[in-house]
């Protein structure tokens, strides 16, 4: 029941985000260099995916444990949701899992769109590599999403977006100065160390990203449990 309700509340946003992401990805694809390397492909798919994570994340985890509405403060129906015999943990989990599922869907749509639109790609990167890249990218995007959820648990929607962007940009800036071993560098996963180039799964980086996501989500859950209305 909560899933159905969550779907009702997020499906329009999902549609919107999917459309935006697909369009950007397709436009960003440069037809010629597709043959020369996978760089542009990676870039074209990464940025929109991150965008998706940003937009779908949080979006009122604090104020809308059950839903997503534009609200300055608490939405009235929130009281009803909280009066249901459901733990906050469950409300939180449903929301987060729904968000992750939606991100996965967006990713798949994006890659499918590019695949369809740019025939040149079909030749160069091997399908298995493509698949590995998608999975690795998903881990990265999950980390971003978790960051968004973490901020959304105590910040209002607008601030949450800015906080996430700031943190991500800051992290990138720091990591580009402080070199990490290639296997750990999450960023490289999406560019140089991408499976599209290395033809292997960056297991360690993925583990780090997922571990980070888990931690952020747990902290967010703890915060949400202690919220007062």
């Amino acid at each position: 029941m909560l899933w159905k309700k969550g779907w009702y509340e997020t499906r329009i946003r999902l549609l919107f985000v999917s459309a935006v992401v697909v369009v950007i990805a397709v436009l960003a694809m440069d037809p010629a260099p597709a043959a020369a390397g996978s760089g542009p492909l990676v870039v074209a798919t990464t940025i929109p995916a991150m965008l998706a994570a940003l937009l779908l994340a949080g979006g009122g985890v604090k104020t809308q444990l059950g839903g997503l509405q534009r609200s300055k403060g608490l939405h009235g129906s929130m009281y009803y949701t909280l009066s249901l015999p459901v733990t906050r943990a469950r409300l939180f989990s449903v929301r987060v899992l729904m968000g992750l599922a939606e991100i996965a869907v967006v990713q798949v749509l994006m890659f499918s769109a590019i695949w369809l639109v740019q025939p040149a790609i079909r030749v160069n990167p091997a399908r298995s590599d493509m698949f590995k890249h998608v999975v690795a990218a998903f881990c990265c995007v999950t980390a971003m999403y978790s960051l968004g959820v973490f901020f959304a648990s105590f910040l209002d929607e607008v601030y949450q977006h800015w906080a996430t962007i700031f943190t991500v940009v800051g992290t990138i800036a720091i990591l580009s100065r402080v070199p990490l071993p290639a296997s750990m560098d999450a960023l490289l996963v999406l560019s140089l160390a991408s499976p599209l180039n290395t033809h292997t799964m960056p297991w360690i980086a993925m583990a780090v990203l997922l571990g980070l996501s888990g931690m952020l989500l747990l902290i967010a859950l703890k915060i949400v449990r202690s919220l007062e209305y």
């Binding site: 029941m1 509340e9 015999p85 733990t87 943990a89 007062e228 209305y229």
Partner: protein, 297 residues
Amino acid sequence: MSECAIEAVELRKSFKGHEALCGLNLNVPRGSVFGFLGRNGAGKTTTIRILMGLAKADRGEARIFGIAPGDDNSGALLRRRIGFVPEDKELYPYMTVEQVIGFSRPFFPHWRDDLESRYLNAFDLPPKKKIPDLSKGMRSKLMLLLAIARGSELLVLDEPTDGLDPVMAEELLRELIRLSASDGTTIFFSSHQLAEVEQIADRITIINQGRSIVSGELEDLKRQYQRIKVVFADGIPAAIPWAQGADRIRKEGRMVSILSGQNSEEIMAQARALPGTSVDTYPVTLKELFLELMRAD
């Protein structure tokens, strides 16, 4: 099986430096119809939020059926047995009446289908209408239906007749009486409509500035409190040592008006013993009692 539906002991709660609750005590027996009265900002909504697990008290304890509502897990289980109508009677704007009922039903193992259809009819709620298209009165009724059909042992209602016209309000009160009489449902409600409280409540608590100032069975309180008017033919003497319980003494011209909370007989005898007096007693309505207590506190 605890005899107490709701129990609060020395609840304290502060927001941003403002002390909303300063040691509130509450005792709501099972099966009672309990009126929770107070001015705006006295702490009624804060108390209800703590009882529903939306907020946590800084100090003191709150228990419903002996269980603390603040813990995430036990609170969720507890809410299976409680029907809640909050002050903001809002629901999901993208659902229709029957959709929100259908959404709510699976959460409650004791859902009463008979009550659901009964109140759909009694309240005249159009099943296919979208919630934002309902009038305020309709929404109040829908929220009440959702609270009642849960098959709850306890109803916590924050201003249940707010926005209802007199006919609808009476209907609602009648349904509450019916629930209390037939199912023994405990009803805990806050209201500004003192006349309604006087009608259906058997116990009340009046809360002011975060504390309860009067508590007990309504009929007893009405018997206990008397307004005694003493007229002095030759003017009011300077100082009169009234017996214990003579509160809220007001003087006007040659008349002294006393609201006595106890010892009414003693005070009356005292008054009659004074020279040149005529003594009359009047019963006190809940409204008078409330206003008088607010004035003096």
